[in-house]
Symmetry: C2
DNA sequence: ACTATAATGTTAGGGTGCTAACATTTTTTG
DNA sequence: CAAAAAATGTTAGCACCCTAACATTATAGT
């Protein structure tokens, strides 16, 4: 029997999810929001206080430069604004534009729809195991970092 | 309790794995082989007959254009050669260079090392469940395609 | 045989993700 | 307080991955 490896399996799954996410977003008429945009909007919308870029990096496990680029694109597309914090001149506060607030509802629906497709015929038990394993892998990678 | 979603979880995990893979490859003195290169070499090395690009697309779940680009890079780096098949003028047979064959052993070691780190403290049972869930997700995504 | 369709591969264009190097501001430390 | 260190964000450069459009060769349908 073939031995399966975590690395390439996750990579492949990520590729498949990426394709499907884009198709799904297109079907929902949200062509511009193919990447992390929808998730970023949802996160900011459900946050109490002000949101800074560093919060988003942490949340989505990307590097500073990556989030900087993504937010630049979202800003260009009129989804967010960036303003320097008065308390800390380094930090930039991210705010949703009215346009982003308006489409948040549709984005959420689209996300729910795709998640329902993904998890079809997968039991609570299995999902629990799945996430638990993911957590262990993450932990193993962090420990690896010395 | 926070509801966890498959999409972003896989995305995050993929990001973390990508970082660690690159660091791992660098530690092993394989700086050029950060992406799929090591896996492609391993796959070709363990194949009986001739290998064509389409086999690699299938294997690694990437599109034609992606594999085409990756192989172009590998060719430029002296890891593979591409020659048109005599039986089918469209298909190009991929062959490892002596250099690639020589480093295959080290690549395998590096892969095994990282996989061992990743799966630490994860039981056979859990891994089985993990892969089974991945298979179900893949299946759900395929069915979705009509 | 001849046309239509399918299969294989490439290129162009764009988003995502990384590291590394940089700038700016804040905090820590001596 | 002044210098060193840390935190926040940007930019450049590169790899990966996608879709769309293209070229070429093979196969099917008539």
């Amino acid at each position: 029997m073939e031995i399966r490896r975590i690395g390439p399996e996750i990579r492949r799954l990520n590729n498949l999810l990426k394709r499907e996410t884009e198709k799904s977003a297109a079907r929902a008429g949200l062509d511009g929001l193919t990447g992390l945009h929808g998730w970023v909007i949802g996160f900011i919308a459900r946050q109490e206080g002000p949101v800074f870029q560093r919060d988003l990096e942490e949340r989505f496990s990307v590097r500073r430069s990556t989030m900087s680029n993504i937010l630049s694109l979202m800003e260009k597309n009129g989804l967010i604004t960036r303003a320097p914090s008065k308390k800390d001149g380094r930090a930039k506060q991210i705010t949703l534009t009215p346009r982003a607030v308006a489409i948040d509802r549709f984005v959420r629906q689209d996300i729910e729809r795709l998640e329902a497709v993904i998890t079809k015929n997968i039991s609570e038990e299995e999902l629990k195991c799945f996430f638990s394993t993911i957590d262990k892998i993450k932990n193993n990678l962090e420990v690896q970092d010395d």
